[in-house]
Symmetry: D3
Subunit: 134 residues, 6 copies
Amino acid sequence: MALVPLIEYADATPGVRAVYDDIMATRRVASVNNFWKALAHDPANLKRVWATVKEVMAPGALDPLVKELLYIAVSVTNNCEYCIHSHTAGARAKGMSPAMFDELLAVVALANATNRLANGYRIDVDPQFRDPLA
Amino acid sequence: MALVPLIEYADATPGVRAVYDDIMATRRVASVNNFWKALAHDPANLKRVWATVKEVMAPGALDPLVKELLYIAVSVTNNCEYCIHSHTAGARAKGMSPAMFDELLAVVALANATNRLANGYRIDVDPQFRDPLA
Amino acid sequence: MALVPLIEYADATPGVRAVYDDIMATRRVASVNNFWKALAHDPANLKRVWATVKEVMAPGALDPLVKELLYIAVSVTNNCEYCIHSHTAGARAKGMSPAMFDELLAVVALANATNRLANGYRIDVDPQFRDPLA
Amino acid sequence: MALVPLIEYADATPGVRAVYDDIMATRRVASVNNFWKALAHDPANLKRVWATVKEVMAPGALDPLVKELLYIAVSVTNNCEYCIHSHTAGARAKGMSPAMFDELLAVVALANATNRLANGYRIDVDPQFRDPLA
Amino acid sequence: MALVPLIEYADATPGVRAVYDDIMATRRVASVNNFWKALAHDPANLKRVWATVKEVMAPGALDPLVKELLYIAVSVTNNCEYCIHSHTAGARAKGMSPAMFDELLAVVALANATNRLANGYRIDVDPQFRDPLA
Amino acid sequence: MALVPLIEYADATPGVRAVYDDIMATRRVASVNNFWKALAHDPANLKRVWATVKEVMAPGALDPLVKELLYIAVSVTNNCEYCIHSHTAGARAKGMSPAMFDELLAVVALANATNRLANGYRIDVDPQFRDPLA
């Protein structure tokens, strides 16, 4: 049970409903997830977080499916149960196949392993890797 | 300075050289990174890690650039300096533009934030997110 | 179910009871939490951990409510379910309002995000931030 | 050296300068930190992150100094060198004494320890800790 | 419920069965854990991960019990519920007493605490600690 | 440069000197590390942390070398540079060979990888792993 009550649409203030409406319209879904219903406990944060999610996850230099995969990679590394489930569902809706999910987890596991080898041996960065991106 | 001496090609045993040769051939580069030179301190681990990297990072259901982006996402979340530098270089060599890197970091930052909102509010997973992948 | 049996007061040794008594007296509560009942499996550790908690969480340069808020911030970042629940209860008992909890989570989420932006871009510390505290 | 060039005010676009001006006006400082100069590589992210920082770190149910202390607690737990330095400087400017910093670190260390005891023993949450905040 | 179906021996392909057979023979057990049944969703990864586990966890310079203890230490630090349970069982089968488990958790808690003190105070490494291992 | 001045023996108060003396006597060394010199900024914390380190790291059900190895495993997982260096030196002084260090890092890397596979696939704990330790 969440630490705060979940706010259903019927019980929401107009400001919260406006965010819910925008989430449903943007994602073409008929209701909002528990995540948003919990955040609605703090309407200012709800509004800010949604505005950021809407912008950051929109198509850009990276396509939306790749962004969902990155989201899962972070959530698995941090072990956020809610986020793994919700973004796995989101990624599937955007075309992630089971094989893609398997490969994603294999990369995430490998990266978590080699991160510790590099840190444990205290390996110096090769000079040619230090160039800034233009 | 690394906690173990870096093994240069000239000083390597035949078994280590065979791995170095395979890395250079697979990646079409003229030398190996410090990461491999440090791992060579433990030839069995060098061989295992390279075998896994070679398989996991090869083209598959996900393309190699997406895999590099996932690697960066994990490495930034864990703050592995070596891995951020080496995989950013690897991703650039595979076509990552500066704009893609910026978007990647924006997604990683967002995911790290919402992971904590979901965990902090102890939000229950929506039932529809629990379906297993076929 | 915990990995070790929880030790109830009635079943505790005199040494464990003495710690339980001190916890109950210090906190003005009628029983101890599961955390202490599990730690009692290792009486030396129970005694050490309680001695540290008692000293560190006492009023000092920071007031006890602020210390509870810091505890929650760490526990949310690490996703310790037990600790989030117990320290949220502790903070409420010391005066944390729901609005304070919301703001706390907003700060924790933001910090987790900008930590990754700073690490991902490998931003150098500004020289003026390096001065040691007197 | 950062992975992206730092954008100085003199070289910034009008949109970036507007953010820099707002940072300097809000914080009453004469220049912006490296963090913002690196984020300016991605003006949309710079604008979003600053808007969130400005709102989240403003006085509210928690005072700005407490928010800085929470920021440090998260940054120390994640080991973000840049953020530890910049938010320690920020907290000092808002009144954090050396004794407060010492107590903060003692709480952060303790919480990181007990998080692992609770997780390692797999301690069940006491029922009375599960009540949601109103 | 796992995000992928668990593959039972009766339903497994010959390649997956070969891995299951090797796990059961190596460990002298009559069935494989859920971990392997989930990984079997991706037979290439199953094979790779088992090959690494088999080699890395075998007796060597460190004995197998010490390796299980190290595994628990990492899993507790990362809060991997599955891994804490499975490796605690593994360690007990190899001789870990309850007192050893208690001491392990006390060390893990302490290390997690002092890691944050060292990082929070930004303590410089003593020069004599920088020598590489021969 | 540390965020607080390092307190040398010559400049220390009698209370701090008493802790330094006990560290040097217990460890049979002629001086204390930077870690203790930084903690001395907060004498109460110095005293508490040393008392815990002295007890927890003493011989018990686990021998002191195993405890040092566990310390390194945690510190590598968290990427605490100071702690990796100081506890690697400590472990070497207690008999850790380079081959043992290599195997330790291989186990730590593997555990960090499989932690993410277990979490990412959301694998349920096998019932037989749930038995509490007696």
